[in-house]
């Protein structure tokens, strides 16, 4: 059969700095052009500098792949590998710079849950708006309306503006609409990274059904468990190129190898959350900074032994005075499972009263009992039970094997270590 998606020498070039519109005033551009022509006069243009004087980079370079009808393909890669760029090209949001893609069939792409939801519109109004925006006709939305509502489990809140929804409800509504699309090719970004576990499972189930009904799915995710569950094939992107293509399991193994190799180079104990990438559009950057220290208060450069104590410092800002704020720090394994969730609301002696403005909070975790592996640290700020900021990949933490049990045996299996005693009778 002819492939449904076929990419040929697909490339995308970005001008660096072009995505900062606040600085992009007319005067700036004029000045830049002047400066560039001056430079050209003096010594010609240098590499990576084009005539307008701005730097550029290839987000994707010469991608070739083809996807057969009915394939369910996972696309994985570290941040900046080109996943989002590829998605944006396939979803027609941006044009490639070179090469082309041929798509055969109706495409629906979900780069975000609840695209186009307007906070002031009710759940009902948003279902229609979102559905039509994603490519359904009004009649289709109408006929599937009851199903969508039932899937979202939000019957009672249909006529409430979605700005009063919790983030979980928001995601449920968005996904409920998306799950009822009927395209031949479905392109999904890591929309599953949000929402509660039970609902994520439900979504994965729904997508699984979708895949087994012979339609083509492209699934981009950090959640390796989901990729393994859902996909038969995998493509691993690295620095704008394809570094592996094959069955899903081998692709995941390849990716895990990449991540473990790559992250050692650039781990710092301070993570800049303010400029963190991949912040979902509904969040504003209220989280500023996350710092990791070991039990003695020394900066923790990404690696620590099993069972060591750590301190997590989080700097954040409360826009309005609040006493009901909650800082959440999750430790997530490479398969996307939250293995340990720390929350400031779990603190018994929480007599902080009302605070506002810049804050710094310290979480002490004695003897973090995670087994040796790579962990991703997530940070979130929740005010009045509503998530206002969430950084999915704040920093990475490597737990290395130590003699935790004092026996010379280094634990590696399982999720955690724990004191244990054995008696032979």
């Amino acid at each position: 059969m002819a492939p449904v998606i076929e990419a040929h020498q697909l490339s995308k070039k970005y001008e660096l700095g072009a995505s900062r519109p606040s600085e992009d005033s007319l005067r700036e551009v004029l000045m830049q052009n002047l400066r560039a022509s001056w430079r050209t006069l003096r010594r010609g243009t240098s590499a990576n500098l084009d005539a307008s004087g701005s730097k550029w980079m290839w987000a994707l370079r010469d991608l070739n792949f083809s996807i057969e009808p009915g394939d369910v393909v996972g696309i994985i890669g570290v941040n900046g590998a080109g996943k989002s760029t590829l998605l944006k090209i396939l979803s027609r949001i941006t044009d490639p710079t070179e090469g082309f893609v041929r798509l055969q069939g109706r495409v629906a792409s979900l780069l975000e849950v609840g695209t186009g939801f307007h906070p002031d519109l009710t759940g009902r109004e948003n279902i229609f708006l979102n559905g039509v925006m994603l490519g359904m006709t009004k009649a289709e939305v109408q006929s599937k309306f009851d199903e969508i509502v039932a899937f979202s489990e939000l019957e009672k809140f249909l006529d409430t503006p979605v700005k009063h929804y919790s983030s979980g409800m928001y995601v449920r509504l968005g996904f409920a609409v998306a799950a009822h699309l009927d395209p031949e090719i479905l392109i999904v970004d890591e929309v599953l990274a949000v929402g509660d576990m039970a609902f994520q499972k439900k979504c994965l189930g729904k997508m699984g059904q979708f895949g087994s009904s012979g339609r083509t799915i492209l699934f981009v995710s950090h959640n390796i468990a989901a990729v393994l569950n859902l996909c038969e094939k995998g493509i691993v992107l690295q620095q704008g190129g394809i570094s592996f293509q094959g069955d899903a399991k081998s692709a995941v193994n390849h990716y895990v190898g990449l991540v473990t190799g790559e992250d050692k180079k650039n781990v710092l104990h301070v993570a800049d959350l303010w400029n963190a990438r991949g912040r979902l559009a509904q969040y504003r950057p209220w989280l500023y900074k996350l710092e990791l220290y070991n039990g003695d208060g020394k900066p923790l450069e990404g690696e620590i032994g099993v069972g060591s104590s750590i301190r997590v410092h989080v700097q954040f800002r409360l826009q309005e005075p609040s006493s009901n704020f909650d800082i959440r720090v999750n430790f997530v394994d490479l398969y996307g499972q939250v293995v340990f969730a720390a929350r400031s609301s779990y603190e018994r002696n929480r007599h902080w009263g009302e605070r506002s403005g810049q804050q710094e909070i310290v979480c002490e975790i004695p003897n973090l009992p995670l087994t040796p592996a790579e962990y991703r640290v997530e940070a979130a700020l929740v005010i009045d039970d509503k998530c206002v900021d969430y950084v999915e990949d704040a920093c990475r933490l490597t737990i290395v094997g130590t003699d935790f049990y004092g026996t010379g045996k280094v634990p590696s299996l399982g999720f955690f270590v724990h004191e244990q005693s054995w008696h032979l009778k």
Binding site: P21, D24, F100, G105, V107, G116, H118, M133
Partner: protein
């Protein structure tokens, strides 16, 4: 949804044809976007839809007081408040359309960077939503005519032409400005200023005879001068300067076409730079 079709995504260079079929096929979405803009516009305001008439009504009161009573500007027939208000209804529609649409892309960044549909819908929907205000304004003009016992002329039937001309001019300007605004936020600051100036170079608060005859055709370069003069005369009677109307109509059409193609050319970079 339509049956499957092959789609090739490749770099688009230079000027592009307008994809009329795609626009026609997604017309339902356009309706939803217009409805959305109408629904959210006056959310969390006390006056709500009354804002649609508040703006031209207050302007009418102020202008009547200052220009008519104090400065002594006379009309070519109708009572000044009626004269000013009929012009202001159309002008307000134009001014709001240009300012709303020029900020529409920047105000809907998520739509631009997360989902595909004809981009042109975003600025045009924000103008479409203002159509309701125009309708309310028109009804109010009719109300005022009844109040002033001013006779309706059969030329009232020509109103759609002037509304259409205004729509074309506002869309053309809105398309160009919204596209420029994506790269250059200067637009946000420049537009309100030029709209304010525009009020004075259009015959909204003064009749055309205040302009020396030799400059009158030059006014045709301002698409709104012909539209306002024609609109007012078709409502309130009086002899229309057809040369001016045609010149303005031609400017509107050219502006609209230029807007369509310039927008089309610039839209492919929106997601990258917004």
């Amino acid at each position: 949804m339509k049956s499957s079709a092959e789609l090739i995504l490749k770099p688009r260079l230079g000027w592009q044809p307008i994809n009329v079929r795609e626009i026609y096929e997604s017309r339902e979405l356009f309706r939803f976007l217009v409805l959305r803009d109408i629904k959210i516009r006056y959310k969390q305001t006390i006056l709500g839809g009354l804002w649609a008439v508040f703006q031209p009504l207050t302007a009418m009161l102020v202008f009547t007081l200052f220009f008519n009573r104090l400065a002594g500007i006379q009309t070519d027939g109708p009572p000044y408040p009626l004269f000013a208000f009929s012009g202001l209804v159309l002008w307000t529609f134009f001014a709001n359309s240009v300012s709303m649409s020029s900020n529409s892309l920047v105000g809907n960044q998520v739509l631009v960077s997360k989902v595909y549909f004809p981009r042109i819908f975003i600025p045009l929907a924000s103008i479409g939503a203002l159509g309701l205000d125009l309708l309310i304004g028109l009804l109010l003009v009719f109300g005022m005519m009844i109040y002033y016992r001013w006779p309706f002329a059969p030329s009232v039937l020509l109103i759609p032409i002037y509304v259409l001309g205004t729509l074309l001019a506002a869309s053309g300007a809105g398309l160009i400005l919204s596209a420029l605004n994506v790269s250059f936020r200067d637009v946000k600051y420049a537009v309100p200023f030029f709209i304010q100036m525009g009020l004075f170079i259009s015959p909204v608060i003064y009749p055309l005879q205040y302009v020396p005859v030799r400059y009158q055709l030059l006014l045709g370069l301002n698409p709104m001068s012909g539209m306002i003069v024609g609109f007012r005369h078709s409502l309130l009677g009086g002899s229309t300067d057809w040369g001016l109307v045609l010149a303005s109509l031609a400017t509107s059409v050219i502006l609209f076409l230029a807007g369509l193609f310039i927008f089309r050319r610039m839209e492919r970079r929106f997601a990258d730079i917004i």
